[in-house]
């Protein structure tokens, strides 16, 4: 048999899986159910969860509000600056979130930034900073996902709707948007998961103040200096849980899309 090649590639795949499996299993030595409940219900962790989820929800909404029209424009129309915008969207994907957070921080050190800080909402080292950091790091990916969603719906559907008397806005609302629902939901879940896990930009812009801007990822980092290994293990479990359940949700959404 000349199946050695096949076996070799599959073995590599299994090895990779085993590697991640061992990593996750190594948690088991540090977590007991009692300890899990105790840490998870401590006021500090509850607060972290609250602001993590709250900020992620706000940031996800903001991201999608921008990503749906932008993704649609990039998918359907030719316009001035399209290429530049397309490239700019990839910046958050190749530039480290720390740099993006630092960039935001620099912005709030400019005149314009200081004006914004003083006039309405304060971002630096505050809750809105978390939302902004998460928005900046996810809006590009959300827009890409929605562009892909719209790309997969041929423009001919809208063309047909228009020949039947629909305006472009009606064609979008009555035909494209309903067809895009599974894709939009998938993008929502993934954006939310990314927001929950955001660390680099958040710590630069909002800092790491306990009971104020300490999101779950930042909380893990804080426990490093405190050498609180068991607390860290519980937080890892929570974040793994959020990530994996988002994934499962997305997979089932994709499966339910129209043939």
């Amino acid at each position: 048999m000349n199946n050695g090649f096949r076996r070799l590639t599959i073995l590599t795949a299994w090895a990779l899986f085993a590697f991640f499996g061992v990593l996750i299993l190594s948690l088991s030595g540090f977590v007991t159910p009692a300890r899990l409940v105790a840490v998870a219900t401590s006021p500090r962790v509850l607060f972290s969860m609250k602001i993590s989820v709250g900020a992620a929800m706000l940031a996800t909404l903001l991201s999608l509000a921008v990503a749906i029209p932008t993704g649609y424009a990039l998918s359907r129309f030719e316009f001035f600056g399209k290429r530049a915008i397309d490239l700019a969207l990839e910046i958050p994907m190749v530039v480290t979130p720390v740099a993006l957070g630092a960039l935001l921080l620099m912005f709030f050190n400019t005149r314009l930034g200081e004006l914004i800080q003083q006039s309405r909402i304060s971002f630096v080292f505050e809750f809105p900073g978390i939302v902004l950091a998460q928005f900046v790091t996810t809006v590009g990916i959300a827009t890409r996902m929605l562009k892909t969603t719209f790309d997969e719906i041929p423009a001919r559907y809208e063309a047909v709707a228009c020949t039947l008397g629909a305006t472009p806005a009606q064609a979008f609302r009555l035909v494209t948007l309903p067809m895009a629902v599974p894709g939009i939901l998938a993008a929502t879940v993934l954006t939310f998961a990314k927001c929950i896990g955001e660390f680099g930009a958040t710590i630069m812009l909002a800092g790491s103040m306990p009971m104020k801007t300490e999101t779950l990822p930042i909380s893990i980092f804080m426990r490093l200096s405190g050498a609180d290994v068991e607390g860290m293990a519980v937080l890892i479990l929570i974040l793994l849980g959020v990530g994996l359940s988002s994934l499962a949700l997305v997979k089932s959404l994709i499966r339910r899309s129209y043939d």
């Binding site: 041929p154 063309a159 039947l164 008397g165 629909a166 067809m179």
Partner: protein
């Protein structure tokens, strides 16, 4: 009356140039051309999805050149049919009516007639993903006609349908268009479809319409070499115009070593004496004589020998070599019953006759 006059358009490096098409009320006009000839692009321009560089589009005399697609009254069934997957069959069909501020019982009665004619009443509450290919096609036609458009436009209406169902859908479309007297424009790459459905046919090649005309004229009398080649006509020979008369033209052919006269309307407009031309004949218009030729058609009868036989279902193709000094091959389409009756076999000697009535003339390409 739907008219495209001098339409020019471009996408990337591809150009549609000087497109003239006129479709009479209730007619079915087919534009046929190979992949990449600009058929779909032309449709998209007509519908209003693509900007024009020049030209006008008129519908019942009204200039719609600048109007957006939703104000042109042109219904469109694309190649991949595009039923709205989130709507039921009923909602798909009524999509156009539901967009109107109001519609009356007459409109609904018309939709009812369509639903009956297309046998859709049993599937009105299904979703498109649960329909067969033929059902989807029928729903798309009902949806397109429900708004009583001034023009129905079909892009490759059979490409999404399995081969064995095509004949049925073809006939259904033919009957539908006759029943509802819909003015229709169809584009296709398939010559069989074009000649089955079209009252008039245009051939498009490389973004230009090279010939338009009634079906039979298009079938037997292509007017240029590219058109003849696209029609799959392989019997093409070189010749020279010897003499022009009112309704006929005398041709000499060095290949065939003959001089003969063929009927030709407006011969004076298209040709001049002494001009080098090509002439041709469809392979089904070449006949095999059972007996020695009668004296009056002797000038286009040739002794020939069968060199190759391609057997198909019922029509076979013979490749014969004429007994001319320089060997010339001619293709003949022949019914299998005729083949048996005539005793045609590989290597057999035959008398073949080219009917001058079916000989067409082409200008020598530059």
């Amino acid at each position: 009356m739907i008219e495209l006059q001098g339409v020019h358009a471009r996408v990337g490096s591809f150009r549609l140039a000087d497109i003239h098409v006129a479709i009479g009320p209730g007619d079915c006009h087919v534009i046929v051309g190979p992949t990449g000839s600009g058929k779909t692009f032309l449709l998209e321009t007509l519908i209003g999805l693509r900007p024009m560089e020049a030209g006008t589009i008129r519908i019942h005399g009204q200039d719609v050149t600048g109007l957006p697609p939703n104000q042109r009254q042109i219904s469109y069934v694309p190649q991949d049919i595009c039923l709205f997957p989130t709507l039921t069959v009923r909602q798909n069909i009524q999509f156009g009516l539901d967009l109107r501020p109001r519609f009356d019982s007459q409109d609904l009665a018309f939709v009812g007639r369509l639903v009956d004619f297309l046998r859709l009443s049993a599937i009105l509450d299904r979703y498109p993903r649960n329909l067969s290919g033929g059902e989807r096609q029928r729903v798309a036609l009902a949806r397109a006609l429900a708004t009583k458009p001034a023009l129905l436009v079909l892009d490759e209406p059979f490409s999404a349908i399995d081969h064995s169902l095509r004949e049925e859908i073809r006939r259904m479309i033919k009957d539908l268009l006759e029943e509802f007297k819909t003015t229709t424009l169809i584009v296709t790459h398939d010559l069989d479809e074009a000649f089955f459905l079209g009252d008039r046919i245009s051939i498009i090649l490389g973004g230009r319409i090279v010939q338009s005309g009634p079906r039979d004229e298009m079938y037997y009398h292509p007017k240029s070499l590219p058109a003849a080649e696209f029609l799959g006509i392989r019997n093409l020979f070189a010749g020279r115009v010897e003499q022009l008369a009112q309704h006929e033209i005398t041709i000499s052919s060095p290949d065939l070593e003959r001089t003969f006269t063929v009927p030709c309307r407006c011969a004076h407009k298209r040709f001049t004496a002494g001009q080098a031309i090509r002439f041709g004949i469809r392979s089904e218009a070449v006949h095999i004589l059972r007996h020695q030729p009668t004296p009056e058609d002797s000038r286009l009868v040739f002794g020939a020998r069968v060199r190759r036989v391609f057997v198909r279902g019922t029509m076979h193709t013979l490749i014969v070599e004429l007994g001319t000094p320089r060997p010339v091959t001619v293709e003949i389409d022949l019914h299998d019953a005729a083949m048996r009756k005539l005793g045609v076999t590989l290597g057999a000697a035959l008398q073949v006759s080219l009917n001058p009535r079916h000989i067409f003339l082409l200008p020598e390409p530059a």
